[in-house]
C-alpha cells in the first residue's frame, strides 16, 4: 500500500521531467482558459446585470444552469465543432492544447458570467443613485462596479479555476491525452491508474490536491485582507 506513495514522493522530490511537463501543460491550459473566460465573462456578466431586455430571465437561468454543465458534454460540443467534418474542422485544432483551452473556457464562462451578474446586480442596487448623481451613466458604471466588487469576483474566478483544473472529461475528449502534447494531470491520473502505474497517479493526485488547497487558502486570505483593508 505504501509503494505508490514512496514512488510518488520520489518523483516529486526528484522533479521528474515527465511529471513537470504534465503539470506545466495543465497550468498553462487552465490559466489561459481562466483569463479568456474573464475577458469575456466579466463585461458580459456586468452588462447582463445592468441591462433590461426581453428574454433576460431566460439568459440568466440558462447561464446559471450551465454552471453545472458536465465537462464531457462541453468536450463533446467542442469536439463536434473542431472535428474534420465540423464547422471549424479546417483549423485543425482537435487534439491540441488550444482545443483544450476552448473546452475549458466553455466550462468556466457560465461561472464567471453568473457570479459577475449577481455581484454587480447587488452593487448596482446600492450604487445606482450615487453614480448617477456623480455623473456616471450605465456604461461607465460597469468598470466602477467591477472594480468595487473585485473581492467577491476573485472568489468566483478561483471557483472557475478550481472547476477547470479538476475536470477530466473535456480535456480528454478534445485533447486526446497524447503524451508530451496534450496530457494533463487529470487525464494522466486516469490513464496511469488504469495501467496500474499508481506512483505517477498518486504524485499527480497529491499535487492537484495541494494546488486546490493553496488556491483556497489564497482566496480566503485575500478576502480577509480585503475586508480589513478596504471595508
Amino acid at each position: 500500500m505504501l509503494g505508490p506513495f514512496a514512488t510518488a514522493f520520489h518523483l516529486i522530490v526528484a522533479g521528474d521531467p515527465a511529471l513537470l511537463q504534465i503539470i506545466g501543460l495543465s497550468l498553462q491550459v487552465t490559466l489561459t482558459a481562466v483569463v479568456v473566460a474573464c475577458l469575456i465573462g466579466l463585461p458580459l456578466g456586468a452588462g447582463l446585470a445592468l441591462s433590461r431586455f426581453y428574454g433576460r430571465s431566460v439568459v440568466v437561468v440558462v447561464c446559471n444552469a450551465l454552471m453545472g454543465l458536465p465537462p464531457v458534454v462541453a468536450g463533446l460540443v467542442v469536439y463536434l465543432m473542431l472535428s474534420r467534418s465540423g464547422p471549424f474542422g479546417a483549423l485543425a485544432l482537435l487534439f491540441t492544447p488550444t482545443a483544450m483551452i476552448i473546452a475549458q473556457t466553455l466550462l468556466i464562462l457560465p461561472i464567471v458570467i453568473s457570479l459577475t451578474r449577481s455581484v454587480v446586480e447587488d452593487l448596482w442596487a446600492e450604487y445606482r443613485e450615487q453614480l448617477r448623481s456623480l455623473g456616471a451613466g450605465r456604461l461607465r458604471a460597469v468598470p466602477t462596479l467591477l472594480w468595487d466588487g473585485r473581492v467577491s469576483l476573485l472568489t468566483g474566478v478561483l471557483a472557475g479555476f478550481g472547476r477547470a483544473s479538476a475536470e477530466v472529461g473535456a480535456v480528454l475528449i478534445v485533447g486526446g491525452n497524447i503524451a508530451g502534447h496534450t496530457r494533463t494531470m487529470t487525464t494522466a491520473i486516469t490513464l496511469e491508474t488504469s495501467r496500474g502505474n499508481l506512483g505517477l497517479a498518486v504524485a499527480l493526485g497529491i499535487i492537484l490536491l495541494g494546488l486546490t488547497l493553496t488556491l483556497n487558502a489564497f482566496a480566503w486570505g485575500a478576502g480577509q485582507w480585503a475586508r480589513a483593508r478596504l471595508g
Binding site: 446600492e126 450604487y127 443613485e129 450615487q130 453614480l131 448617477r132 448623481s133 456623480l134 455623473g135 456616471a136 461607465r140 466602477t144 472594480w147 468595487d148 473585485r150 483593508r229 478596504l230 471595508g231
Partner: protein, 243 residues
C-alpha cells in the same frame, strides 16, 4: 486656497412649476411651485414622508417629474454644475483621495487638474491625513465629511443635501454645519433637508415647508420661525404635528 467659480450663477435660479410626482397613480408630490435663488440657503422642512427627499431628488435630476416642469436658467435638462449628497452617501471601495478623484475623472478633467483639485479639497476640509485611507473604514463623521467634500470638489453652483447630519453626534454635526457655511461663503447655493429644527434655525435663509406632498409655506426663515402662517406649520414647529 481660492475657490474659483467657472460660471457664476449660470444655471440658477431653478424654477419648479406645478411640479408633481406620482408612483402608480399615487401622488407623492403635488403642484410644487418653488424658485431656488442663487446664493441662498434654503431648508426644506416637513414630517417624515412629507416628500422632502423626493423633492431634492427631483431637483437634482435623479427622478423626472410626472407632471409640471423643472426649469434651470440655462435650459439644460440636467446641468453639470450641481451636486447632491444623498441621505446615505455611497463611498467607493477605494481610498479617500480616489473617491474625490472619481467624479472629476467622470467629467473628463485632465490628470494634473484633478490632482490639484483633490489636493486642494483634502487640505481645505482637513482630510489630508486620511488621503490614503480606505473610505469605507472611516468613522461616520469622517465619511460624511468626505461625501460633502466630494460634492464640493465638483464645483457645483447649487448643492442639494439630504439630511446631511442625520445619525451624527453633536461634534460631527457642528463640523458638517461649518462646512455648509463655508460652501455658502464660496457662493454655492444650498438646498437641504433636515429633521433638526435647531439646525434649520442656524442655517436657513429660506424655508420651504412640505406637508403631505404639498408645499404649504415658503418664505424667509425669520418669518417662518417667528410667525408661521399655516396651522400645519404651527403644529410642526410646536412638535405636535400628527400625520
Amino acid at each position: 486656497m481660492t475657490y474659483v467659480h467657472p460660471r457664476p450663477h449660470a444655471i440658477l435660479p431653478l424654477r419648479l412649476e406645478r411640479l408633481g410626482y406620482a408612483v402608480g397613480g399615487k401622488p407623492l408630490l403635488v403642484d410644487i411651485d418653488l424658485e431656488v435663488e442663487a446664493g441662498r440657503r434654503c431648508v426644506v422642512l416637513g414630517a417624515n414622508g412629507a416628500g422632502k427627499s423626493l423633492l431634492l431628488r427631483l431637483c437634482h435630476g435623479l427622478l423626472e417629474p410626472t407632471s409640471g416642469a423643472r426649469r434651470w436658467r440655462n435650459g439644460d435638462a440636467r446641468p453639470a454644475a450641481q451636486a447632491m449628497v444623498l441621505q446615505r452617501p455611497v463611498l467607493l471601495r477605494r481610498s479617500v483621495a480616489a473617491n474625490l478623484d472619481y467624479p472629476l475623472a467622470l467629467r473628463g478633467l485632465a490628470r494634473a487638474e484633478r490632482r490639484r483639485t483633490v489636493a486642494e479639497t483634502l487640505e481645505r476640509f482637513g482630510l489630508a491625513p486620511l488621503a490614503d485611507r480606505p473610505a469605507r473604514l472611516l468613522s461616520g463623521g469622517e465619511q460624511q465629511r468626505l461625501a460633502l467634500a466630494r460634492a464640493w470638489a465638483m464645483r457645483p453652483e447649487v448643492l442639494f443635501l439630504d439630511e446631511p447630519s442625520a445619525a451624527l453626534d453633536p461634534s460631527a454635526t457642528r463640523i458638517i454645519e461649518a462646512m455648509i457655511e463655508a460652501f455658502s461663503m464660496d457662493g454655492i447655493t444650498i438646498v437641504m433637508t433636515t429633521h433638526d429644527l435647531g439646525q434649520a434655525r442656524r442655517l436657513a435663509h429660506d424655508v420651504a415647508f412640505l406637508h403631505r406632498g404639498r408645499l404649504v409655506e415658503v418664505g424667509p426663515a425669520e418669518t417662518f420661525f417667528s410667525g408661521p402662517r399655516t396651522p400645519e406649520a404651527r403644529a410642526f414647529l410646536a412638535g405636535d404635528l400628527v400625520w
